[in-house]
Point group: C2
Chain length 361, copies 2
């Protein structure tokens, strides 16, 4: 695999140009690019600019609205439902999170469910918006069905990630950002490229039997929930995926379960939708709504130090604080640039050619 | 194993008498008994009256305050911190959840973090209090350290359960109520009694190696987080356990991580506490803060029907809706009584003798 490295700025400029060409207003193009870039900076390569041409293909099929009228359609003092008007999740999600934060500023907490949206990038981006305001940030989304609940032989849930982010004091924020499947699709894709067998417990075949084939999903197989099998708690991973689905979609009026539209242009959305687009859910709680913020941060620092200092199985390895690796990536890549594999670079340059903008160099 | 069956009423009366003898005010004794009975009714035998003598032993050691002054010590419109004054979690938790519900009635949502509490029974009891008011209920607690985070060879987290409960229409509520460990302690106890090996992925020994020994925890071993190992997402189970710990204790001012006091009288609490007692976290959100409640319930019914009707691996088995088995137990046991194993009955009768109250017959 060949990597080419680009500066944050050049990739950001390129990405903004693509969204502008799609017809996004300038502020939206900048925001959407920021969400994708943050993912690449944080080392989550599967959710960054590698997905850019996917967004464009969905827009070409008129399944993404580049200039949506995103708005609140229902609310109380601390809750709201947002209609994303088919817009980019990369734009709709920060809009919704901002409302949650504004409500929290006044009332202590704010909670927003979103319908009629699309793929929102990394959950961590949105949750971290709250952390910047000394709040706890919560962010989740449903996604097109890839996961079979315990006992099922069909796909009913997405990898439905949930994220909880907490502001620390002298350390980076604690960011728990996780798919509720045993292994997210990105890990499968790595095994697919290498054509190597995957660990037992990631996927099942179309009849529900154990499979080590990384290509099994193409043959009607399914990802397994976190826990992998009943003995190891797959019903818990299924329960978490269900929680994300209900908060994001049953609560907002989006599509849920097997009705969630696929995030790829070559698969058509179900013809019998039960709601609008895909759904997200966001929350923000002021830390000082519970105790003085500095007290919380001091104790979270102490928590972090105790866990990092824990006795480990392998003395070479430390316990990792959730969010720590992504923070380290962000510092390193801001300085040294973002490496992209050649296949992604070629894909982006073809996209540039098609849209009539300058390619990556 | 011999089972003896008791009516709900006789067990309830007995349990209330025990709490009254401890010095609980009458309403508290009734409430604490209700939480334990609900657990037995719902088939969660490990968290019901089987624990009663454990509560008494902690009270004898003055580690539970039978007549606490439970109060709000910090709040905003929709957030609060409650000091449980060392009381029974069975009493402190419903007090806190009630505050969350009252705030949600006015502002759409309410969130309460609790310090200085004790074991609160089943998480589902508290979350279901919100469901009764057409709200989504959230409930979690930290617990004494039994779980080793990914890469660690020491216990730093409890089995830290989280519960999300949602009101449905014609079906029982969807209740996701789960420990964030691969297998909760109760499952281990069953294997201990039978002296049978446990599945790979539940526990590790004191050096962090795989163990199939159900007694491993007594030799310094640890439970594993949901996901079991890094390849299968144990860092996610660890992240969820961490989330529960931070929301319940770092946020409220309770003890967290390895400082959480043990819930058994023969182990002393750490001598260097970082907070007060154990911590819980509760939330309530009005469904009609997001969309009309009936709309939500109709769609949740549709969600339930689709999942129950899913194609399954074994045609004899259906996909289980979270909370469905507990609801079935509750109907059955309300009618036919609650079976207790003879060891539990003997334990309760010894307790009765010690306290000078009538035993179970």
């Amino acid at each position: 695999m060949i990597f080419l490295t680009f500066s944050e700025n050049s990739l950001r400029h390129f990405t903004e140009s693509v969204f502008s060409k799609m017809g996004c207003p300038e502020t939206d193009a900048k925001l959407a690019a920021d969400v994708l870039l943050r993912s690449d900076l944080r080392g989550i390569d599967s959710h960054g600019v590698a997905r850019l041409s996917g967004y464009v293909r969905l827009w070409e099929k008129e399944r993404i609205n580049a200039a949506p009228f995103v708005r609140v359609v229902h609310e109380t003092a601390t809750t709201a439902t947002v209609d994303g008007d088919g817009g980019l999740g990369l734009v709709v999600a920060p809009f919704a999170m901002k409302i949650a934060i504004e409500k929290a500023q006044i009332y202590g907490s704010g909670w927003v469910s979103v319908k009629n949206s699309n793929h929102f990038g990394i959950a961590g981006y949105h949750a971290l918006m709250a952390v910047d305001q000394d709040m706890i940030g919560i962010s989740m989304t449903n996604a097109s069905p890839l996961v079979a609940p315990t006992y099922a032989s069909e796909r009913l849930l997405g990898t439905n990630p949930m994220c909880y982010a907490f502001p620390a004091g002298k350390y980076p924020p604690v960011v728990v950002d996780m798919a509720t499947a045993a292994a997210a699709n990105g890990k499968l894709e790595i095994a697919q490229r290498a054509n190597q067998p995957i660990p037992d417990g990631w996927v099942q075949d179309k009849s529900g039997q154990v499979s080590l084939n990384p290509h099994e999903l193409k043959d009607g197989g399914a990802l397994l929930p976190l826990g992998s099998d009943k003995d190891h708690g797959s019903h818990k991973g299924y329960g978490l995926g269900a929680t994300v689905d209900i908060l994001s979609a049953v609560l907002s009026g989006a599509n849920y379960g097997p009705w969630v539209p696929p995030f790829v242009s070559f698969l058509e959305p179900p013809t019998d939708p039960v709601g609008a687009g895909i759904g997200h859910f966001f929350g923000a709680m002021r830390v000082d709504g519970f105790r003085p913020a500095q007290e919380f941060k001091d104790h979270l620092d102490n928590w972090i130090e105790r866990f990092k200092g824990a006795r480990t199985v392998d003395p070479e390895k430390q316990v990792i604080i959730p969010g720590e690796p992504e923070f380290a990536f962000e510092i390193e890549r801001k300085k040294n640039g973002i490496p992209l594999i050649d296949a992604v670079v070629n894909d982006l340059n073809e996209l540039a050619l098609k849209l009539g903008i300058a390619g990556l160099s």
